[in-house]
Amino acid sequence: MKSDSINKDVYFNALPSNKHERLYGTFDFLAIQITFGIAAWFFLVGSLTGLTVKAGDAIPIVIFGNCVPLFLIAPLAVIFARYGTEQWAGSAAVLGHKFKDLWLIMYITSSFGWIAYAAFLFGQSAIKFVKYFGGPEWLTQEVPGAIFFAFIATFIGAYLAYRGPDTLKWFTRACAIFLLLVLSYFIYAILAKYGITEIYAMEPAEPMESLAWSRASAIEWNVGLGLSWAFWYGQWTRLAKTEKAAFHGCLWGWGLLAGTAGIFSAFTALVLKVYDPSEWIIALGSPVIALVGLVLFAVANIGSISCLVYPMSITFRNRYPKVSWKKTVMICSLGALVLENPKVFESYGIYLAYIALLTGAYSGIMVADYFLINKGKWSWSLREIYNRDGAYHYWKGFNPAALIATLLSAGFYIWTLEPLSWTSPNGLFPYITAGIPSFLVGFVSYAVLMKVWVMKRMTAPLEKVATATGAPSPVLNSVVNK
């Protein structure tokens, strides 16, 4: 372990980043977010989409699902660029210090799923590789072979994260190139072999009970992936040179550009009618190409695991600095092992729905705060963000408006779409989807509760600063700006 590099990163993330520490302009962000974004999750969401709807529906659904939610939550990119705080430190201003800690735990535990999907895809690739070379029977089957290899991938990915940024930097760059190579091959093979007209004419392999359910479900999965980025902004955008770079880099890098991977994955699933991307490599290539593709795909998935575990560990260590680095990495990775099995692998749509439930609530509240609360004397106080006994203690460490808005948003989601049974208790799905409406429920309920209740009962964090400097009220200020 390169402890100097890790301590430097922990130290660097513990402090709000100042202007001179900012590393990324717009194009830097685009490059970083494309390479961070294109991974197992885009292949799998494309696959689900292609199995459920035709190509003519899949393209706008993938683009909409991965762009519009990112536009809705884009203020998250801006706010952490403005204050320079790490995401989960800054969120205390909105959620309260203890509720923020609870959200931090939800962020860590919900991210085990992303690790598990990348690891199981490694496992799927590995068993096919072993089978080709006539390896032991038990290593060529999903159970226990793929699980065994998934565990190995998790341990390797976690070990690379444990080694720190010096090791990770080059490995993850190489992995991004590997995935782009695999994606490029899919694009070439599919278009050369079938052509766009034939792809457009193909029927999906696993449509739902009605066209409306197929379309709404496909939208929901893609929206789930789009909203999922809500948990990953501040780790990056606190290093933006301008708010503009943070805003556009994440919006187009994670959205329109990385989303392209989802479109071509949807095409491939539509043509081959198979969910597992490692099967596509076998089906589309000669034996040599398939073997090379499987190796690249497997290694790239280890890179995706490291790319997740490292920022999760840095975030966790910032909040709990007394925990050793080794324990931190274990806490942020080993929970994924329980999810590495075929049942979870085949339930990616359900996982995306739960992610949409969580991130829709969180981002709705954060964006409402950005647009409607965080102005004038109610702007964030950097000092109070780091002062656990100060203004952002709210009620026993919980902002009651954020707590209630979270429950309302999550409740509305489950009322509209119950992910496990994939049914709609209120009957609104498939006429509306669940992720974006739940975001709006969180947005509206938080804003109303803050305005009519919390803001009337507490002193603004920057009350004295605003009074001393004669800063106009937020209402007057917005009029002046116009």
Binding site: N18, P60, K244, Y386, N387, G390, P461, A471
Partner: protein
């Protein structure tokens, strides 16, 4: 509680040097950027303009209309 009282921040688990650096960073922000932020100005870095939202909004509106037209 308000920031003009200048409560010294101390995070458990951080050593003295890190806590001192954190307080210095906060004081710098308060002295140079906080009033700007209150007045809808810059934080550490140049602020996003309304035109950026407008540009992204128009494109995302077009994407939404495209989806609606495609699914009708």
């Amino acid at each position: 509680m308000d920031s003009t009282e200048k409560v010294r921040v101390r995070l458990d688990g951080l050593d003295e040097e890190m806590n001192r650096a954190l307080n210095e960073r906060i004081e710098y922000f308060e002295a140079n950027h906080e009033v700007n932020v209150i007045n809808s100005g810059e934080g550490w870095v140049p602020r996003l303009s309304a035109g950026d939202y407008l540009f992204a909004g128009v494109i995302n509106l077009a994407i939404t209309i495209w989806l609606i037209v495609a699914l009708i």
